[in-house]
């Protein structure tokens, strides 16, 4: 027992002494904030887009669309009349990156709802969507006015609806909005994925270091291989908990001071998709429980991978199947966010390899029956024991092996031996 302690302490002390730990600790919150904010910023297209409206209409539609585009914070629009070589010269402008693109408006816009946009980046769905909305608004207003509807009534009818969403949990309507739940789920998914992968790989390289330096031989002559593996996993696990504590505290400080980057980009109103969620004690508990579960499950597998490899390159290859399990769970998170109660989501939150990410995501996104959590935790616990048992047997043989990596048949023999 005292020897396991020594292994844990060495793993812990040596890791928090590294520069990397402190870089991660300090930059982690910034990194996650970036993960949070970047999609919005990127989807927003990154600032103002200069476009030209080539107006070939006979009425005021072109002018009104230009006006409305300029009212938005996204576009800076200039209206020119359609003429012989306008399109050619604008094409050249776009080519030289002096112009984002140009919109060609004809009377067909009002008559049959057709308009054309030519630009360097037509796949930017946010830009295209905004254009389409603006044109649609003006066109429908013009059509209504043609039918004799009072322009003031049209203006009033245009007032947008803001749908407020609230989450029902435990029979009560909470103050939490759907956007906040979504943010929380998304956020937890990303952190869980990143942390389990990062610390799992840490365990792997630690095993590999002892194997390649052959120091493992002295160690397993003093304590059992399983004790060594256990101490290693617990030591790295303790580092991860410390990392989370640092992140938690710094996130709190950052949020309390609402730094520039969360409201950067002059978004004015609260961003409609990503909002800073409220993290309750229960949520934190679910998060930590599943993190530890996932970490133990995956780090046992990573330890086995480290033990069966003889070099960094070999390990990088051999760890791919394990990483893919994790990547798969992470990617399916996006599907689950759409419908946290679907059969797909429920299955993923029960399968032990995806549960560590899937269950906290479902927890954050929607209301969960307690028995499902209990069932998922039960399955996870049993799997941890089973996987650790198998991994320990591979570990025991692998750490003393040199030369070529074992194939599947040999692995099975190691486990059975």
């Amino acid at each position: 027992m005292r020897k396991i302690w020594a292994v844990i302490r060495r793993e812990f002390v040596e890791r928090i002494r590294t520069r990397w730990f402190w870089i991660m600790a300090l930059l982690g919150p910034l990194f996650f904030a970036a993960v949070f904010v970047l999609p919005t910023v990127l989807a927003g297209g990154g600032g103002i887009r200069r476009i030209v409206v080539v107006d070939a209409t006979t009425g005021s539609v072109g002018a009104r669309i230009t006006q409305l585009l300029n009212d938005s914070r996204v576009f800076r629009a200039v209206r020119v009349s359609a003429g012989g070589e306008v399109v050619d010269s604008l094409t050249a402008e776009v080519e030289q990156k002096r112009l984002g693109g140009f919109l060609i408006l004809t009377d067909a816009a009002v008559d049959s709802g057709k308009a054309e946009y030519r630009g360097s980046n037509v796949s930017g769905f946010a830009t295209v969507g905004a254009l389409q909305r603006t044109i649609g608004e003006v066109v429908s207003a013009v059509r209504l006015e043609r039918e004799g509807v009072d322009p003031r009534i049209v203006a009033r009818a245009r007032i947008a609806v803001r749908l407020e969403t609230k989450k029902i949990a435990g029979g009560k309507t909470t103050g939490e909005t759907a956007a906040q739940s979504f943010s929380l789920a998304y956020f937890m998914g990303i952190i869980l994925y990143t942390a389990i992968l990062l610390y799992g790989i840490n365990v792997m390289s630690s095993v590999l270091e002892e194997k390649t330096t052959r120091i493992v031989e002295v160690l397993v002559s003093s304590l059992r291989p399983f004790q060594l593996m256990l101490g290693k996993v617990l030591g790295v696990g303790a580092v991860s908990i410390l990392q989370f504590l640092i992140w938690g505290v710094s996130a709190r400080i950052l949020l309390a001071h609402r730094p520039g980057f969360l409201t950067a980009g002059d978004l004015g109103e609260p961003d409609p998709v990503f909002q800073v969620p409220h993290v309750s004690g229960a949520t934190a508990a679910v998060f930590i429980t599943y993190f530890l579960g996932g970490f133990f499950l995956y780090s046992a597998m990573f330890a086995a991978v480290g033990a069966m490899s003889s070099s960094e390159q070999e390990a990088r290859q051999a760890q791919q199947p394990v990483s893919w399990l994790l990547v798969l769970s992470f990617v399916s998170m996006f599907g689950m966010l759409n419908d946290p109660a679907s059969a797909f989501s429920v299955t993923l939150s029960l399968v032990p390899f995806s549960a560590p990410i899937a269950m906290p995501v479902r927890w954050a996104a929607g209301n969960l029956p307690t028995y499902e959590i209990a069932l998922s935790l039960g399955i996870l616990a049993v799997s941890i024991v089973a996987v650790t048992w198998i991994a320990a047997r591979i570990y025991r043989v692998g750490i003393l092996m040199t030369g070529k990596r074992p194939n599947l048949r040999e692995l099975v023999r190691w486990v059975r031996a």
Partner: protein, 318 residues
């Protein structure tokens, strides 16, 4: 404790009883039995691939035998249970490269079951003694290879074990460290410790070992006290000095049943005995032939020669 007697003491410190280890496809150690008495330097000799490292790993519980039993300190358990009393230097050595020298030593001391404070004191003392004191807070990978080897010795002896198990301790050492290692082994021996070491270099074994066991292809060829082994396996050469009369010595030398090769100088001759020939019979026949002898000496073969004689046929088969 300090018993210079080469004969096994009544309670051997280490016993292997028909220990076997099979790996996929081949038997690394085959029903090997040996017994290491307390307070001796014991050599485990064999060519490369003979099973020395596998044997040592089984003694240390790093590998579990497929058959047979290992007894250490009279208990039916291997070295791991007694790790606080055993110092182990594996054949392939290494340290945590990124750790500080002192931290590595303290950690490895803890692994052997001594507490941090004591491990620290002893590590400091050893570093001082081997001239590494000013390196104690440096990272291992900043040290030269020779210094790393010294750190490795220290880690093996830090907990002041009763038994040292050294796998090819001299391989890869520079001349200075070879000397340090040799002195250390002799010093430990003089303090009553038991040392078991493996090697394939016979010159070292011949100088250091009191007891030994030669194995090849996982099997024991011979074991026992070095002097006994030399006596039973080394008596193939006879040196004879004559005092004047040769008598009928020429007829004796010509007997192919007794002598396979003669190098006769007149008053001095070197004989190589035919296999199975008894030197006593030669002596008797020389005396009855009327030769006057000033010298009749069975010459000891070197351990190297014995080793090659014993292992040679095995090696050819391998």
């Amino acid at each position: 404790m300090t018993s210079p007697s080469p004969s096994p003491s009544p309670s051997p410190i280490l016993i292997l009883d028909r220990v076997s280890k099979r790996f996929a496809g081949h038997t690394a150690v085959d029903e090997l039995s040996l017994s290491v008495p307390r307070g001796v330097i014991y050599g485990l000799l064999g060519p490369n691939g003979a099973g020395k490292t596998t044997t040592i790993r089984m003694i240390m519980n790093i590998l579990e035998p497929d058959g047979g039993a290992v007894r250490v300190f009279g208990e039916p358990s291997g070295g791991r249970v007694h790790s606080e009393r055993i110092g182990y230097l594996p054949e392939e050595r290494g340290l945590y490269r990124k750790m500080r020298v002192l931290d590595v030593l303290v950690f490895l001391g803890e692994m052997k079951g001594i507490d941090r404070r004591r491990a620290r004191q002893r590590a400091e003392a050893w570093l001082e003694r081997l001239g590494l004191a000013q390196w104690r807070l440096r990272r291992v990978d900043e040290l030269s290879k020779g210094m790393q080897q010294k750190v490795q010795f220290i880690s093996t002896m830090l907990h002041d074990p009763d038994v040292m198990i050294l796998d090819e301790p001299f391989s890869g050492l520079d001349p200075v460290n070879t000397q340090v290692m040799k002195d250390t082994v002799l010093d430990l021996r003089s303090r009553g410790k038991t040392i078991l070491f493996s090697t394939h270099i016979m010159e070292q074994a011949e100088k250091l070992c009191e007891q030994l066991c030669i194995i090849a292809r996982g099997r024991k060829l011979v074991d026992g006290a070095l002097s006994d082994i030399k006596r039973t396996h080394g008596g193939h050469h006879v040196v004879i000095g004559f005092d004047g009369s040769l008598g009928g010595a020429a007829q004796v030398f010509a007997d192919k049943g007794l002598v396979s090769k003669v190098d006769n100088y007149g008053q001095y001759a070197e004989l190589e005995l035919a296999s199975g020939a008894d030197p006593q019979e030669i002596l008797q026949r020389l005396v009855t032939s009327g030769a006057r002898l000033s010298k009749f000496e069975l010459q000891e073969a070197s351990l190297n020669k014995i080793f090659i004689d014993l292992v040679g046929p095995e090696a050819v088969r391998a």
